[in-house]
């Protein structure tokens, strides 16, 4: 029989199943292969907080969404064209997000009586039939049965065989999107080098899925996606935490300082610890501390000792680290605090994304305690942001907070990566040793940037004491003098403010430099704002997008830039935190758009909101 190959511009696929079904891996493998075809793409993994939530239930559904196409892709897509549902719960949880007349690929073995009951369908319900009635195209495949049949001869146990069923689905999708199997075959060869039976079973199932598409008459169409018009260069696919790790390692090499990472496992930041622990041959010291407080305090100790000191965590961890961060601030030592934000408060939504720790970053410490804050905006941007946070901390002798979030951390995108030689060195100036025993070393003497010297233990002639008590200017001795405290408070503020003179001015990311509407953003809303502003510009509106890397201090031209527009819209995945700060600082009205559901803002909803503001002109 003949199949028609159809060319299409963009596709959004969601893989959904039990958290034990291997959907994250399936999605990742399909993503890597998609990247190789030259598509632009964005992904959004969405998994339950429990490692193995009860099988077959709605709570246990794990999803991986991929949006790819032959044009610039900014977001993982609002709605999906194709839903792969490994069981009834996966269908039920995602039915609402399938495009009208979209496609459902259902693994029918996951729709038996038990699964229907677990997914809380009424007795006798036929969800796949209902979906057809609603106009969806539903392909029903007995994936488990087909997998078992194709592995009849395999020596593996039934459980292990069933674990291959995600390969069947993957193989089928490769057929559907006109791919070859090579990238996944290579992956399997690497992964199961030492387990030949498992390797063979996975290969077989992968191919069976592919051939199933080819030979089954139900499927008449395959889809071609042309490569996207991307900048020339060499690319790879990268996830946020992965890029962040590489940014830190790069900063360590470029500053010629050993990197110390003190951390305590916490979702969604643990992958930074895992990643750095795998780079020991770069001299990276990872220290899994007994708790969050020990992690930050060990980081202070390492900074005092002259390492590039980093600690990473998520919001609840930052709450615990507050006093330790304050110590670093008082000691004026360089260290980076990475916060991969998740839904809060308290334990909140560990696996869901949110931008709700901004006020914590600004104000979450006792005393007047300003710290620079930097935010990353996308998975690949984590590399630059991490490098920049290290540069800033080393050159301004203050702890720096780097904000990422769960969406960025686990999302992936193509990355035109830099060559190491093109990345500038980071200059570090330790206070040099001295033979002069009589000249008293002044640990809190400052340069024109208000920065004190970094005098590390082991340096001849610089023995001195520091501590969390207020310091006397210059000498660093303990001082309770009222005027001195006011002076020191102001100088700590001035030191942070001064950074504005050493960072670039804020640029417009897209659109004109003045006009009716400016959409201001920070962090992971970058993609969705880009796509909305792009679309509205195309429709002829006077609109622009500016995205903040530097949140404290703000770029020196920010006030002027904001005032060049009639209205400023600020979308955030929180209850309006940056909006509060912008209003306070620049005394301008800000239109908030807030979504606080643990998921990214969708293009449709933001376009609706921003579009309606544009329409008033």
């Amino acid at each position: 029989m003949s199949t028609i190959a159809q060319t299409t511009e963009e596709v959004t696929i969601k893989f959904a199943g039990d958290s034990g079904d291997g959907m994250q891996l399936t999605g990742t493998l399909f993503t890597n292969d998609t990247a190789l075809t030259g598509s632009d793409l964005a992904t959004f993994p969405d998994f339950p907080a429990e490692i193995r939530a009860p099988q077959g239930t709605l709570a246990g559904v794990s999803g991986f969404q991929l949006h790819f196409g032959s044009k610039k892709i900014f977001t993982p897509g609002d709605e999906v064209d194709v839903l792969v549902a490994m069981n009834a719960a996966a269908l039920k949880a995602n039915l609402g997000s399938i495009k009208r007349a979209g496609t459902i690929i259902a693994s029918t073995d996951g729709f038996d009586k038990k699964n229907l009951r677990l997914a809380k369908y009424a007795d006798g319900a036929k969800p796949t039939e209902d979906a057809k009635d609603q106009g969806f195209t539903v392909y029903e495949m007995p994936v488990t049965k087909l997998t078992r049949t194709c592995l009849k001869e395999s020596p593996l146990g039934m459980k292990e065989k069933d674990r291959c069923k995600n390969m069947f689905v993957l193989g089928f999708l490769y057929w559907r999107y006109n791919r070859d199997l090579q990238s996944t075959i290579d992956y399997l060869n690497r992964k199961f080098k030492k387990k030949p039976d498992v390797l063979e079973a996975n290969m077989k199932t992968l191919k069976a899925g592919y051939h199933y598409g080819e030979t089954t008459e139900t499927f008449t169409t395959t889809y071609n996606i042309e490569p996207a018009p991307m900048e020339k260069g060499t690319y790879r696919s990268v996830m946020g935490n992965q890029a962040l790790v590489m940014g830190l390692v790069t900063a360590s090499k470029k500053s010629k300082l050993p990197l110390f990472y003190g951390s305590y496992p916490i979702t969604p930041a643990s992958d930074i610890l895992h990643g750095l622990a795998s780079y020991k041959h770069f001299g990276i010291k990872t220290f899994q501390a007994e708790d969050e407080i020990a992690a930050v305090c060990a980081t202070v100790g390492a900074a005092y000792g002259g390492n590039l000191a980093i600690t990473g965590t998520s919001g609840p961890g930052v709450a615990l680290k507050g006093e330790g961060i304050g110590l670093g601030l008082m000691l004026e030592l360089p260290m980076v605090i990475v916060n991969v934000q998740r839904g809060g408060p308290s334990t909140g939504l560990p696996t869901k994304t949110e931008q709700s720790d901004l006020l914590q970053a600004f104000y979450g410490r006792n005393g007047d305690s300003p710290l620079p804050i930097i935010a990353t905006k996308s998975p690949s941007d984590c590399f630059d942001a991490a490098y920049e946070a290290c540069r800033m901390t080393l050159q301004h002798m203050t702890p720096v907070i780097l904000l990422s979030d769960g969406y960025i951390a686990n999302g992936a995108e193509p990355w035109k990566f830099p060559k190491a030689a093109d990345i500038p060195a980071i200059e570090v100036n330790f206070v040099p040793p001295t033979d002069d025993d009589e000249a008293k070393f002044m640990p809190y003497e400052r340069d024109e940037k208000h920065v004190r010297g970094w005098a590390i233990p082991g340096t001849k002639g610089l023995a001195h004491r520091v501590g969390g008590l207020e310091k006397e200017a210059n000498t660093g001795n303990v001082s309770y003098d009222p005027a001195n405290h006011e002076y020191m408070t102001k100088i700590r503020q001035a030191k942070v403010d001064e950074i504005a003179n050493h960072i670039p001015e804020q640029a417009i990311d897209n659109g004109p430099t003045r006009g009716n509407v400016l959409v201001l953003g920070w962090g992971s809303t970058y993609g969705v704002i880009q796509s909305v502003v792009d679309a509205l510009l195309m429709e002829g509106h006077s609109i622009a997008h500016a995205h903040l890397r530097y949140l404290n201090p703000f770029p020196r031209n920010l006030g002027k830039l904001l005032r060049s527009f009639d209205k400023v819209i600020l979308p955030e995945i929180n209850n309006g935190q940056l909006a509060k700060i912008i209003r306070d600082k620049y005394e301008i009205p800000v239109l908030q758009y807030n979504k606080i559901q643990g998921v990214p803002i969708s293009k449709a909803e933001l376009k609706h909101f921003v579009g309606s503001v544009c329409e008033t002109y």
Partner: protein, 347 residues
């Protein structure tokens, strides 16, 4: 470590060279003075280099200590000194790192860090100034205060059962556990030296008198006239003798028993011989913890090195791992890391 120049131009430091220009702010008569003095003279006697020596403390009266030492130093935050020390030692393992803590700092607010520091076994020295009271916050009961202690925060007597710091240390698999006192400078100096020469985390508990809020808490052990009967000075491979040579400890099965050496029933040959490396017996010695004021049959309180063993230090192991990683994967190559496994070209 930055080694001293080979020529002898470097002048030998005296104890007073380790004193800073800061006024010492402890209350007059505080036991901390004695400890400061012994530490300064031990550093001089050991000819330690002040540029390679660091004192790190937490919060409390004792934690003011670094301000008075002409070395590197950090007065950190409450209870967290063990963590700061860990980061510092891993940043630069060549440093001689001393940690100063108290009973509240080390065993209440910082109890968790203490446990993990002891099992982790970095090559550091910990001095625990135990005064069984909160001095800096003006006299509340501490985790080592006795039950029933009347303080401002416990007017009807404290309900908390006290921590036995050294028993806890043994439970955490500490590699060096010792006890000394502010009022026996000679012994204190000896113990400081033993701590310094131990490779691994050395915990030295020092009974320290807070003459303002808990005066005399340890006098039953530390006053010269009381010492013979209430304390036992441990020496490696020597029998457990006290009472001015009149009494000893023998083991009756697993039960330590006080015996009178004058009675004629037992001789020195029957006594428990102290073995610093015996962990089981070390555990038992930390359990010599009854208060002779409330229990006349109490075993004498041991002073000296209770337990000492060698175990690879965390710092050594971490750096060995870094070397091993280089052996295995070669020196880290940035370009290879950044490119990762699979790349593609857009032309």
């Amino acid at each position: 470590m930055s080694t001293l120049p080979a020529d002898n131009l470097v002048k030998k430091l005296k104890a007073k060279d380790f004193a800073t220009d800061q006024d010492v702010r402890w209350c007059p008569g505080c036991g901390d003075y004695s400890i400061l003095k012994q530490v300064q003279s031990v550093l001089a006697e050991l000819e330690l280099n002040k540029d390679d020596t660091v004192f790190i403390s937490g919060i409390g009266c004792s934690s003011r200590f670094p301000y008075y030492m002409e070395t590197y130093g950090m007065h950190s935050i409450h209870g967290r000194a063990p963590a700061v020390v860990a980061g510092l030692k891993l940043a630069n393992p060549e440093l001689d790192v001393w940690m100063i803590t108290g009973d509240g700092d080390g065993f209440s607010i910082g109890g968790n860090h203490m446990i993990h520091a002891l099992r982790r076994n970095l090559d550091i020295n910990m001095l625990l100034f135990n005064n069984e009271i909160y001095g800096l916050t003006k006299g509340q009961y501490s985790p080592t205060s006795e039950v029933g202690k009347k303080t401002k925060s416990s007017p009807l007597g404290s309900l908390d059962h006290p921590i036995n710091p050294l028993a806890l240390a043994m439970g955490a698999d500490a590699t060096f556990v010792a006890r000394s006192m502010d009022r026996d400078p000679k012994h204190l100096k000896e113990m400081l030296k033993r701590s310094y020469f131990h490779k691994g985390t050395a915990l030295l508990e020092i009974y320290q008198n807070c003459n303002i809020f808990n005066d005399g808490a340890f006098f039953i052990f530390t006053e010269k006239k009381n010492r013979p009967d209430t304390t036992i000075y441990l020496e490696h491979e020597q029998p457990l003798i006290f009472g001015g040579g009149t009494k000893g400890i023998r083991l009756d099965g697993f039960k330590p028993q006080i015996v009178d050496l004058n009675e004629g029933k037992y001789t020195v040959a029957d006594l428990w011989i102290h073995d610093e490396q015996d962990q089981m017996k070390g555990q038992m010695l930390t359990r010599f913890f009854d208060d002779p004021r409330t229990n006349p049959a109490a075993l004498p309180r041991p002073f000296g090195v209770i337990y000492s063993t060698e175990r690879p230090t965390y710092d050594d192991m971490l750096f060995a791992q870094l070397d091993e990683a280089v052996n295995q994967f070669g020196d880290g190559d940035l370009d290879a890391m950044i490119a990762g496994g699979t790349t593609w070209e857009i032309k």
